[in-house]
Subunit: 328 residues, 2 copies
């Protein structure tokens, strides 16, 4: 079935679409109440976040826009030290989209939400003119335990910097799909709850966390350097990059430091806790290639210094100008 403007008019066609595809896949007691808002148990401290997903193509090696839309928001909650609880999802569907595609997307969201332990409690569907595109916004609510305080502004001299695995995979997978290049690169799109929980339970003193998305690792670490008014020192030969992505980047002149992932995180932790944090990451799902990649100093405040394998030093800025459009 092709989606038409009638599916967005708020009448019977809209109800039918929601019932047949979204409510059925996201099936839960809260959503099935179909009220204007979901009333759910709260907590004394909550985390709230939102992200829209406009990735092109909507199905790509290693994932799809649905999986991405759950991972992105769940990971944003986790990075603030929150336990992800509730998601909302707003679909903006272009006329001409296929209901079969929406079905696959919804099933993928449901499966990822289940893995991540979140419930989709509210949704909305709109239809616009166009050529079958699909855009998804998810917003998330998580509970923040007492005493948890994680922020880009809390990095201090002596802290260690880790990354949870290979850089650039999502970016390289999307770009490959868009250029019709066949290779073995898969998007790393994944929810990082197990990894964060593992570090928290082990008592790792986490100062700052970010998932590495648009703009890549350099952009994220630049935020840490600026927010904490510190220097992030990185060693280039410690940065984990897979052989296929290294080859892909060499071919196209891309830098993995500015390429987005969707299932990787960077963490700044107390220096002494770095080996423990690394162990937690490595034993978690999606963390086997984690690495300690550098440390925090006062050398050049607000900047990232990269030591190259031949002993040179480069200052890394955040991403400037045009990255890959519609990567997430």
């Amino acid at each position: 079935m092709k989606i038409t403007m009638a599916h967005g008019s708020g009448g019977r066609a809209t109800s039918q679409l929601i019932a047949d595809i979204f409510a059925r896949n996201f099936n839960n007691e809260v959503l099935s109440r179909m009220e204007d808002s979901a009333v759910v148990p709260g907590s004394g401290r909550i985390a709230v976040t939102t992200d829209s997903f406009v990735v092109n193509p909507i199905f790509f090696p290693g994932g799809d826009i649905g999986k991405l839309s759950v991972c992105g928001t769940v990971n944003d909650l986790l990075m603030s030290g929150a336990q992800p609880k509730y998601l909302t999802c707003g679909f903006i569907i272009e006329e001409g989209a296929q209901s079969g595609e929406l079905e696959r997307i919804a099933a993928s969201m449901a499966q990822t939400a289940s893995e991540a332990g979140v419930t989709i409690v509210a949704g909305d569907t709109k239809v616009i003119e166009g050529n079958g595109g699909v855009y998804i916004n998810t917003a998330g609510v998580g509970f923040v335990p007492e005493g948890v305080n994680i922020s880009a502004s809390l990095c201090q001299e002596g802290d260690a910097v880790l990354v949870s695995g290979y850089l650039g995979e999502h970016h390289a997978a999307i770009l490959s799909a868009r250029m019709g290049i066949e290779n073995q690169i898969l998007s790393d799109c994944a929810p990082l709850g197990e990894m964060v929980q593992s570090m928290q339970e082990a008592g790792v003193r986490i100062k700052a966390m970010r998932d590495v998305t648009r703009g890549g690792l350099a952009t994220v670490l630049h935020e840490f350097a600026v927010s904490s008014d510190c220097c992030v020192e990185l060693e280039e030969n410690r940065l984990p990059v897979s052989a296929p992505v290294k080859g892909f980047c060499g071919l196209l002149g891309l830098d993995p430091l500015y390429m987005g992932n969707e299932g990787k995180m960077t963490a700044v932790v107390a220096g002494e806790d770095a080996p423990l944090a690394l162990e937690c990451m490595k034993k978690s799902r999606y963390g086997e290639n984690a690495a300690i990649i550098g440390h925090i100093s006062q050398k050049e405040k607000g900047k990232i210094l990269l030591t190259t394998p031949i002993g040179g030093t480069r200052i890394l800025s955040e991403l400037i100008g045009e990255g890959l459009p519609r990567i997430c």
Copy 2:
């Protein structure tokens, strides 16, 4: 300045756009932390909702997509008996949009959020190809006081049905703008917090509430009839419709019962409380034309019966087929 794909790539252009327009207008301490999630005080029971806005045109008589995006989500929270607290907003901007328009939209959102008493705590900006269109998703979190229990499924025989003012104004304003018809019809787009609070403080026993949006009053009341397995009996000559909208509908063959508002609500309250509820609505901002329009019975379960001025009876279905596309 024209928005380009670079504004969506997650690098410096994205940061600049967010800082210059969104962060400046939505200026608050939580948002300015610029973390992946906003960590804010919570509550034991929360309401969560989301809506995407794709209205066309984005500026229309009586409002704009920004005002609409705040009112829509705030009203959805209110309709569940929640006190609206936090909003997130996700912008999907088509290449070619003017930054001046985004500025107006952001200012309008900020002003409406201020009136509604909500804080915009998280945001996201994406850019897609296109012709300058703007789409906004807002999600909202509200606190639900103990003991509050409002649901479409709680309507009972003897309850009264009210509507807070003239029907069809938003729909008529959007359609007029799109057709280039000049008239005095303004969108009724408004946040309904004062009205709901007034009823709650007066102790009105509210069973169900809904804002009257896509699909119009008939679609909303049809939900009540189905969810509560009851009959909604309406008297046509009690339905408030302004003279200009009446004229507009006559001209175009439209039915105000299926036309969306964005600043009107319908409430089902205990029959004895109907006069008090009406008084509360009428003395509130945006409620001067409120009316008691019918009652709940067991006559035809799951249906709406409309008594016409000449004594006839019509069964009203929900909106079927194509309503006005992109009305919100």
